[in-house]
Subunit: 274 residues, 2 copies
């Protein structure tokens, strides 16, 4: 039955697990098939053309997995390849992380001065500015590409003086513009949330699109009658499946540090063939 099918979630690599985490918390009845493109990560420094091609391949793979909806848990892919993803997805509902994040930021901001930190590709696409100004034409959006944050998180230097310094350098420019809301526009950044909070103080609302995306997914599944309302039996198989294009073991290790569940293994998919 359609309702009991899993949700396909994909990202350029590990970061999208922060979105999967929010879906697991907020929609505990739903099954997930996750794909992380660890052989070609990162997307954030690459061109739109390449990101579109990679995203199409991933959607084609996910469609072999009998899913009921797709969550694009990658800001860069959402920013640059949403049309192509919808086209490949056929009739399947597709949610990206940008719209829910933009909407939440518009609600969170009083002054309308909203900051966005993200990858070079996402900032270059101006997708957050456009989405925000579509909702709130008085808003001014200040974007800042932060290419070092993903490698810092992947190096594990999270509670670290050096990371604080790098964050401060990136954030200084935004703080000068007197923003009152800041979008964490890359799925790795929520892992730096408490450091960012400490550095910018309590006056600025932090918006985590991962959280907002899970809420939006919940709403959409309900609206379309696709939400799973049947409790799992004790004997049913593990509801989360993980696929990657490379380094399955490293992925499982990282996933276990991010997710509230145990990731037993991840399987490798030859994604170029899709």
């Amino acid at each position: 039955m359609l309702k009991s099918l899993p949700i396909g979630v994909f990202d350029s690599g590990l970061g999208g697990l922060t979105v999967a985490r929010e879906i697991m918390r907020n929609l505990p009845m739903e099954k997930i098939v996750y794909f992380g493109d660890t052989a070609r990560v990162p997307y954030g420094s690459k061109s739109g053309q390449t990101i579109k091609r990679y995203s199409r391949q991933i959607v084609r793979f996910l469609k072999t997995q009998e899913i009921k909806a797709i969550v694009v848990a990658c800001n860069t892919a959402t920013a640059l390849a949403m049309d192509e993803i919808r086209e490949e997805a056929g009739g399947l509902p597709v949610i990206g992380v940008v719209e829910p994040g933009a909407r939440a930021a518009c609600e969170a901001s009083k002054s309308g001065r909203i900051g966005v930190i993200a990858t070079r590709a996402t900032i270059g696409s101006h997708v957050y500015s456009e989405a925000i100004q579509g909702i709130r034409s008085d808003a001014s959006v200040i974007g800042k590409a932060c290419p070092l944050l993903v490698p810092l998180v992947e190096e594990g230097w999270i509670h670290d003086k050096i990371t604080d310094e790098i964050l401060l350098r990136y954030l200084d420019e935004l703080l000068e513009h007197d923003i009152d809301a800041l979008i964490l526009g890359c799925t790795h950044y929520p892992l730096l949330r408490s450091e960012i909070r400490r550095l910018i103080g309590d006056g600025i609302r932090l918006v985590n699109p991962a959280y907002e995306t899970a809420s939006e997914l919940k709403r959409l599944l309900k609206e379309q009658g696709l939400d799973n309302d049947k409790l799992r039996d004790a004997g049913e198989p593990y509801p989360y499946r993980f696929y990657v294009s490379d380094e399955a073991e490293r992925f499982a290790g990282f996933a276990n540090s991010v997710l509230p569940v145990d990731v037993k293994n991840a399987r490798i998919v030859p994604i170029e063939e899709f």
Copy 2:
């Protein structure tokens, strides 16, 4: 005529330009076809299996370009895919960056305590230790993976307090082992050469495999009668061709900051199809 054919040089992205630069300086009569895999960069955090597959595709592409030899200007590919590269190359001479770097380090070191900084994949492969101990069995090799250095160079933070701090953290461990030679085992690292020199002082010899590889190439071409001895005529076309798998413009910009010649353009190759 065979002697006048170009040399194929490849890397996971931009870093191999430091090798191309040494070839241009040391072998000014030689033509070069460079390929940088900018759509899938970096290799240093990926698995051997993936690096082998990508390297094979690149060699198949280079062979369509009528070349006389191949230089693997990527430490990670040299460390993990040399057998596959030689197999794909058929009879063409192939030089990697590891052997020349290891040989120079053995000559540079008095104590036999040699440090290597490189990507996670290169360090994990132990290829430098093996090469060094094959030449000098009394040597002890201390490796350190430095995954943040490539993103720092690509962010342009070269003369920067933060980069100094990160370098010091990575190098501290090596300095404790009282090394007297240090191999810059990733092609981006020569761009941090003067910072590293300043931080570690004059007592440690820095080994740049890019430089050693160009010397080795010169020797090999001469030995096999493949060295180009015909001066170019004024009317001859530009001797350097650049290909990438993505972001041709960004590549050309970076290339112009590294190379002693003008890079007019770089062309995109659909490398997955090879």
